[in-house]
């Protein structure tokens, strides 16, 4: 992650949509992945009705 902002072209720097920089985009994806895993784990537990 330390290298994330090293490779910037002129057109590639600055805000990316609602994000201030690419670094924010990348960290959002990492957090998104963790949230997805947490949600799927919750899903696994909540809908497990096995009798064994």
């Amino acid at each position: 992650m330390a290298e994330m902002d090293e490779h910037h072209d002129d057109e590639d720097s600055g805000p990316i949509g609602i994000f201030p920089s690419w670094r924010w985009v990348y960290w959002s994806v990492v957090i998104y992945t963790l949230v997805v895993i947490a949600v799927l784990w919750g899903f696994t537990v909540a809908f497990n009705h096995s009798v064994g």
């Binding site: 290298e3 590639d12 992945t33 895993i37 799927l40 899903f43 696994t44 809908f47 497990n48 009798v51």
Partner: protein
Amino acid sequence: MTGIDWSVFAVYFGGVLAFAWYQSRKNVGVEGYFLANRRLPWAAVGLSVMATQASAITFIGTTGQAFDEGMEFIQIYLPQPLVMVLLCVLFVPFFYRAKVYTAYEYLENRFDAKTRSLTAFLFLVSRGLAAGLVLYAPAIVLSVIMGWDETVTILIMAAVTIAYTLMGGITAVIWTDVVQMLMMFVGIGVALFILFTTLPSGVGVGDVAYIGGIQEMWTSIDWSWDPSNRYTIWSGMIGGFFLALAYFGTDQSQVQRYLTASSLKQSRLSLIFNAFVKVPMQFFILSIGVLLFVFYHFEQPPLVFNNAEVAVVMESERAGDYRALEVEQTQIHGERRAATLDLLDAREVGDQGRIAELQRAIAGQDEALVELRQDAKAIVADVRGAASNDVNYVFPSYIIEYIPVGVLGLLIAVIFAAAMSSLDSELTALSSATVIDFYKRWFNAGATDDHYLMVSKISTFVWGLLACFVALYAGQLGSLIEAVNQVGSYFYGSLLGVFLLAFLVKSANGNGAFLGLVAGMSSVFALSLVTEIAYLWFNVIGTVVVLAVGIAVSAVTGGRDGGGGAAPA
């Protein structure tokens, strides 16, 4: 299929060809044909990346897999968002700034010609055959389920795909991929909606979740370390990470897509789009399979969904055994249906004792029915002399039996769209590697742009014909194709190792990369012969061996300047 279904189908094919023709007018020269003159927006590129990965077998095979085994397959997709970040940070800037046409061309800039040629050759061999399988797999399923002629199905799919790829090159391919991917989204939504509407009245979302949960069909995360379990969070996050990184980062059919973007920023955005959308899409596709599992608690499913295999069994001396299993299945299914309806009533009144009793009964009946299905598939395997691939027939069998007029045409068109959107990408990728990495590099370096454009189109056409040939003879080539596919999985991780060596190890040279690649592939091949390691781990092992050998050989042969890194053509 009715007239309305055929009309939907005809509109799809006509629309794709007309749209491709419209887009093709914007192409100029070889750069236009292979890279759309590097001017496409991120949304189109992102949808094309997704459509290329989602073949027809993704659509029909994974639904069948979820029907049999539940949601656990989703774990293999969980690292993909992280892979997209790594691609954006590490891979895309190198490819984009080098202004290359192919991923392998970059390797000559960084290492030498022999490393470029070996990696490009490995890509051509594996993807050349895979293109045939992209056509063959859905054609065989549709021929069995719809009664269509397999050869005609293959030829129609191939002819239309080759036509629009030749006409418009990568521009037509990417824009038709956009349409085809949007059709797949609609198809997934429609399939889920229809599945809910074909459940008995009064059965709601909560009931579906509950019934699926009795057999743990919604289990999406498995934290166990059991190495014999194919899909756990660990094999998914580690093995799946390396597999996805190798596929998206080194396979020309994907690299070519993000090289068409109008800027580095657009290229990265196309991958970030995939990071957010891919996992939910797979979740919904797998949910179709679990919904089918619940649906068949109320409607009796066939023991084996591939009716061609059943017909063969019925002509054999094992027909009596198969019929006996069917009788037993009818009885157990009837009991399970009654118990399921009773369970829903008991839940409504909150009778906990009765709920527990019925859950146990249903769990036992589920297991008995799974065993009967295994026994039936064993009979099929015994009669045919080959294992049954029934998983691919579960969803198509449902849509032909229960989907209403008009929607059936749409869903069959979606299966075609999934196949064609993968095949068109393979054809442009194969053609670009053939022309740029071999023809132009080794045989004819100084020709005009028009000449290369003509050779590129001839190459696309020849690869299309080869894909047709492989698809038409895939049945007879069975074990050969399986072997080649298996060998393909041996070098994916090794290819990734070479690219990581190029990006991360400044002292690595051409000899290190080349010998590392050979050592990586050999190690994985040797391990596959003497161990039972699951295929996902081959990618990790291959990558590590290439890096280790590559670094060592580079050090011994004098570092970056000692490896014969010839100037690029």
